[in-house]
């Protein structure tokens, strides 16, 4: 296999929309970074240029600071899990991720590997307050990025915790692969769910620049200790030799360090990606066995062949059932007939 060690160099250049150059968060970010500064009219002038090399940008991404306009909150897509919530939304305050998982759909979804931070979180809060007048809201705020991994730069998670603590009809899911120790950092409230994505070692080796599985488990246990709700995500499941044994070991480690009984719920899903994104992803990851696997295209979504998918889900579910009730496991299935 190809040598897979990747080296990263973050934010040597920061592009700032003229319109937000005086926003307090922009000023705060710029204070922390000694980067070349380039002013732009609109983030798309940089982010949406044609022919960008996503693979090389992932290794040395520039930062783009911008204002999010138009639709700020989206209804959940069919490939997302709603965890039984009727009013399921998501929003992206950051586009792209500081981590570099080989299988990441963002490499096929966005035209760039650079990272965009939208500073106007206050506008998103205002929209949520409007929706809350109609019905409760469940919102995932770390979907197309890893919000917690960027906390030292943005302070967004702190703001979400404060905002949620004052709105009982709002539930916020913050999904992460980071190992940030949240103790003493945020206002503790039971309508924030920290969702830690856990991967066994073989898969972790394909999640470049991420913290180790054990440090993620430790971070989850700290969040739990602090009083937050914890969700564990075994998603995406990706097949490799020794799959069963490694998931057994990972689950054992969760039981030892966190205790399954303390977990709100678990999400389980095999790798799937829209056919449109797969093209870009395969281009960005030409040497990744994970991505180059001959997946099947079912109705515009690439996923594992039925038998393999069933095997993977059943295997991990059976392992988890030794520790936790079925009612706490949310499965994503591709809908094979």
């Amino acid at each position: 296999m190809k040598a897979l060690k990747r080296k990263y160099d973050f934010f040597s250049h920061i592009y700032v929309e003229e319109g937000v150059k005086n926003h307090p968060l922009t000023k705060n970010i710029l204070k922390k970074k000694d980067s070349h500064l380039i002013y732009i009219d609109h983030y798309k002038d940089v982010f949406c240029r044609k022919g960008q090399n996503i693979a090389s940008q992932k290794l040395s991404p520039s930062l783009i600071i911008a204002k999010k306009e138009g639709k700020l909150i989206y209804e959940g897509a069919p490939v997302c899990q709603s965890f039984g919530n009727e009013y399921f939304y998501y929003t992206s305050l950051i586009m792209n991720c500081v981590y570099d998982c080989e299988y990441c759909y963002l490499k096929g979804m966005y035209p760039s590997g650079n990272i965009v931070i939208f500073v106007n979180i206050e506008d998103i809060f205002a929209q949520i307050d409007n929706i809350l007048k109609l019905h409760p809201v469940y919102i995932s705020v770390s979907y197309d990025c890893d919000l917690l991994a960027c906390e030292s730069l943005t302070g967004f998670v702190e703001k979400w915790c404060l905002f949620a603590s004052e709105r009982k009809d709002l539930t916020v899911e913050i999904r992460t692969k980071s190992a940030v120790d949240v103790r003493g950092k945020f206002k503790v409230t039971d309508n924030i769910i920290f969702a830690f994505t856990l991967s066994p070692n073989t898969l972790y080796a394909r999640e470049h620049n991420t913290p180790s599985p054990l440090s993620r488990i430790k971070a989850a246990s700290f969040a739990l200790e602090e009083g937050f709700n914890i969700r564990l995500c075994f998603d995406p499941l990706i097949y490799f030799e020794g799959f069963k044994e490694e998931y057994e070991a990972l689950s054992y480690s969760v039981e030892e360090n966190i205790g399954f009984k303390n977990i709100k719920d678990i999400s389980l899903g095999t790798f799937r990606i829209s056919a449109d994104y797969m093209k870009g992803l395969r281009k960005a990851e030409p040497y990744s066995a994970t991505v180059q696997y001959p997946f099947e295209n079912k109705g515009g979504v690439y996923s594992y062949p039925k038998a393999k998918e069933e095997y993977m889900l059943k295997t991990v579910k059976d392992i988890l059932l030794k520790y936790i009730g079925e009612d706490k496991i949310y499965l994503w299935e591709s809908g094979y007939e």
Binding site: Y15, N53, P294
Partner: protein, 256 residues
Amino acid sequence: MVFIFTALYAEAEEIIKNYALKKLRNMTKFTLYGNEDICLCVTGSGVMRASVGVSAVLAKFSSPEDKVINIGCAGGNKEGVYLCNKIKDNIFKRTYYPDMPPKHSFKESELITEKNVWKGDKEDPCLHDMEASAVYEAASFFVSPEKIMFLKIVSDSNGENVTKEDIRLLFKNNFPLVQDAISLFLKKEEENFNFTDTSKIEEALKCTVTMKERLKRIARYLDIKGSSIYDYLPKELECKSKKEGMKILESLEEKI
């Protein structure tokens, strides 16, 4: 290959001499100078000539792995050598952003491409030239934005007459920096991975177009994993029909 475009011969002379570039005759309407790694073209001044020069050369000789550097003089209220991170076209009112190398030792500047020689403005922090936007626009048809670089040496602050000899000297004195910039792009990238040629298997299995695609995908996957598609195939491959071939393909998919 690194393609270098300058407007004037005086801007190219030191590069030609130091990299021992040979004149390449009758390749395009433009005179080219080259060696194994570098191809240099003097386009002439102004956006039109730059655009035609870059298009003519890259259309004929370039591949997407190649890189492009525009090297030349610029007017401005500061001195020195700059890598340009923002190119504003004052004629068509467009702005371009080349991806910048994350590590380098140069100062950076915004550059404005003008139709005529810039006459100077004491308050203006930008550099001004007459080709860069056209080089970017033309080059971006052939290579991605991280493969285009703009290196400008400030020659004047008010459009005053700069002679060819002045330019030649300016480039001679700053040649070590020009060389540094070229080196940023001369670094070799990782060799491409050689994937298994599946054409013989395709033939033996009597593959349709879709079967060929599936077969190639499996071979590529196994190559990356460090094994080979041949480890998973039966010794006797020759099939009488595509139906038979399909059976082998399906059993292959089950095994991996």
